[in-house]
């Protein structure tokens, strides 16, 4: 296990910290795009164009729900934390936290 507590200056809020981290991720070389999806499957933040965002959000939301359902069916006290899909061209990573989804598409081979 690692330290999971967050640090921020007294003038920052938790939200700003999250946005900071998101910006950093987006700025990493090789990251194609990031999408934040809320509990209803609607993308609220994205760095990709609209049609791609909607497509990714819809499809991955369904897949995540299915994956979570699978995990919890086996053991209801368990829950899905993240999902990684490695394809030929790039890697799609989905991290879930209380119904919210964070989707990052990365091209790891440089």
């Amino acid at each position: 296990m690692f330290c999971s507590s967050l640090l921020f200056c007294s003038c920052y809020s938790v939200q700003a910290e999250v946005e900071d981290t998101l910006k950093r991720i987006q700025g990493i070389n090789g990251v194609i795009g990031t999408i934040v999806v809320n509990a209803e499957g609607i993308p609220i933040k994205t760095t990709l164009d609209n049609s791609t965002t909607v497509q990714y959000a819809g499809l991955l939301h369904q897949l995540t729900m299915k994956a979570r359902s699978t995990v919890r069916d086996i053991d209801p006290q368990n829950d899905l934390t993240f999902l990684r899909i490695r394809s030929k061209k790039h890697e799609i990573m989905v991290s879930t936290d209380k119904e919210y989804l964070l989707i990052v598409i990365q091209n790891p081979t440089e």
Partner: protein
């Protein structure tokens, strides 16, 4: 031929009349009257006998009735035709008195006769009898019915608004049922609490309301804190995938062919933008979380003093530090508490010591000696946590450039200081200045087992061994180096051995019972730091200002380094080195604020060869024995 009969009859009558005419007056004188259009016939014609036939045929009946015969398929004349001629018809109204109607009529007649002025019972009797007798007539029955007025039917309808409908669909899964039950349980517990504590409720409700509002406001992104962290680490792991694989699995196979020598494989480099102008002044691994380490940033140069930082990096995210603390002045030393890994003691250039709590989400230290009266007047060179004292208060010890060794105790909200000892001034300083010119203490280390015993290195090259219990004098002084002692450390296994290094290019290994060093190594430039390996009592590594890391294993080679590798670019001086307590990696800090992690190749981590048939004892005793063996060979 009725007419013929009638004519004959009339003629007979007329003849009879004529015959009897003689008898009556109006019959006399009758002459034959001829109608004007009578036929004029001759005598012969008059005497002609005309036969008249009397038949019973009806002259009006048809004579040539033809009917179609289906049997023969043609029209056939009907020979026998009805010959009856009806001359007169009159319907009578006589009814037989024995018939039904006759009886009825007679009864009625009798009633009418007896009708007026009779007694009632007779009437009733008669009526009753009449009723019995009343029978319906097939031909003449008249049922009289009367109908009330039917009100015209009206349709009245009203329509209500249809109830609102919504589509509902759900799935019933194992986990949905589980979720529901846990929620139900919580609800019940809450209601129990409400029943029990009702006064406290109001406050709680207010807080809850605030909480709920805050939650709704923040439901946007702050939910994602954990998710974002994980993703960042995953992305970094993908980028540095080969490094991570090397870190875990790579063991340089070519070491077999290199003889004794080993290599250092560079892994991740940690750098922070805002720390570019600062140099690494301290490194410390976290003992509980083996991937977390602290970096103290500041400046050794007297002239270049600015702010400082303490950064915490994890190997899982080489891109960005986990924790960032800004300090007012440069950080000179950092120490993480061995058991409570969230307590961090920091010594600053301006003489302050501060304690940070990683669990708290603030930038400010929880304790600061700024206001304390016993604070150091000059830079704090080393801090070290101690075991909790008798009152279970945490405490640590610091040594400063002012020559004081001070113990600080965390009591409630402040730091309480206790002077332990003052470093002795060297003899070269004239007596009247002895109080003024302090002896700069540069390094401090406590014995692993006997933690009251400590070593202090000074700027003058001496190493003093002291004890917490003796505050007036040092137990022992070693003339270690010609120049500043940059580091002194006890051996983690052997209780008598310690190592020291200094700017005079030397690394010396001592036995505390002996005044002169057991081993001496000369590295080509100033040695800035030296560290023992946690896995072996005979392995240590040193860093020098020319950017090289030197790794020695006394068990294998007593005179030479197994590895002398330059790990940073030109003109970068390496300042600190630390071994990871668990993994075979080391981190080195340089004067550009960068920290580089390196993996030790297998040759540098060798365990002594097993003799055939002998079981290999494990544990610190082996290490001690190893060292002892070495030492005894030199005595």
């Amino acid at each position: 031929m009725a007419k013929g009969v009638k004519a004959i009859g009339k003629k007979k009558d007329e003849e009879e009349g004529l015959d009897t005419a003689e008898g009556e007056e109006w019959m006399q004188g009758k002459t034959l009257v001829k109608p004007p259009d009578q036929l004029e016939l001759t005598e012969a014609e008059l005497n002609e006998e005309i036969t008249r036939v009397l038949t019973a045929n009806n002259p009006n009946a048809p004579q040539n009735v033809v009917r179609y015969s289906f049997k023969e398929g043609c029209y056939k004349p009907i020979v026998f035709v009805d010959q009856m001629a009806i001359h007169f018809e009159l319907e009578g109204n006589l009814v037989h008195k024995e018939s039904d109607e006759g009886r009825r009529l007679t009864a009625k007649q009798a009633e009418v006769d007896d009708g007026g002025g009779d007694e009632r019972p007779d009437n009733v009797v008669i009526k009753a009898s009449k009723r019995e007798q009343k029978l319906t007539n097939q031909f003449n029955f008249n049922e009289r019915a009367s109908q009330t007025l039917n009100n015209p039917p009206r349709d009245i309808s009203c329509q209500t608004e249809p109830p609102p409908r919504a589509n509902f669909s759900a799935t019933a899964n194992q986990w949905e049922i589980y979720d529901f039950y846990t929620e139900e349980l919580q609800r019940r517990e809450k209601s129990k609490e409400k029943h029990e504590g009702q006064f406290v409720n109001k406050e709680e409700d207010k807080n809850k309301k605030k909480m709920i509002q805050a939650e709704i406001q923040n439901d946007d992104i702050s939910q994602l804190t954990k998710a974002v962290k994980i993703i960042e680490r995953m992305v970094n792991q993908n980028i540095f995938d080969d490094v991570a694989q090397d870190f875990m699995y790579f063991d340089d196979a070519s070491d077999e062919f290199r003889g004794e020598k080993g290599t250092l494989l560079p892994l991740w480099t940690f750098q922070y933008d805002k720390a570019k102008s600062l140099s690494v002044t301290a490194l410390c691994w976290n003992h509980k979380y083996n991937d977390l380490f602290a970096v103290g940033l500041g400046s050794h140069e007297f002239t270049q003093q600015g702010g400082g930082m303490v950064l915490f990096y994890t190997l899982k995210n080489p891109n960005y530090p986990e924790f960032i603390f800004n300090t007012a002045s440069g950080v000179m030393c950092v120490d993480i508490h061995e058991h409570l890994s969230y307590l961090v003691a920091v010594g600053l250039y301006d003489g302050c010591v501060a304690v940070y709590n990683l669990k708290k989400k603030t930038d400010q230290p929880i304790y600061n000696s700024r206001a304390s009266s016993g604070k150091h007047t000059s830079a704090v060179m080393q801090v070290k946590w101690q075991k909790d004292d008798l009152d279970s208060n945490h405490n640590f010890i610091s040594v400063s450039a002012g020559g004081r060794v001070v113990s600080w105790t965390l009591v409630k909200h402040e730091l309480v200081f206790t002077d332990i000892i003052k470093l002795p001034v060297i003899d070269t300083i004239p007596d009247d200045l002895k109080d003024v010119v302090p002896t700069v203490g540069t390094s401090l280390d406590f014995h692993k087992q006997k933690d009251y015993s400590f070593l202090v290195g000074t700027e003058h090259g001496k190493i003093h061994k002291g004890s917490k219990y003796y505050s007036s004098k040092f137990l022992e002084t070693y003339d270690a180096h010609f120049m500043t002692v940059t580091r002194v450390r006890w051996n983690p296994f052997h209780p008598d051995v310690f190592i020291s290094c200094g700017w005079d290019w030397m690394v010396k290994i001592w036995d505390q019972t002996m005044k002169s060093p057991v081993f001496t190594f000369e590295l080509k430039t100033s040695v800035t730091d030296v560290a023992w390996a946690p896995y072996s009592s005979t392995v240590f590594a040193a860093v020098t200002t020319d950017g090289k890391v030197h790794v020695f294993d006394l068990n294998i080679n007593k005179y030479e380094a197994l590895c002398q590798q330059k790990v940073v670019s030109k003109k970068t001086r390496l300042l600190h080195i630390e071994f990871n307590p668990v993994h075979p990696i080391i981190i080195v800090g340089d004067d550009r604020g960068h920290v580089t992690s390196l993996k030790l190749s297998p040759n540098l981590r060798k365990k002594p060869k097993e003799k055939k048939g002998q079981e290999m004892p494990k544990g610190p005793e082996v290490e001690i024995a190893k060292m002892e063996q070495l030492l005894s060979s030199l005595r």
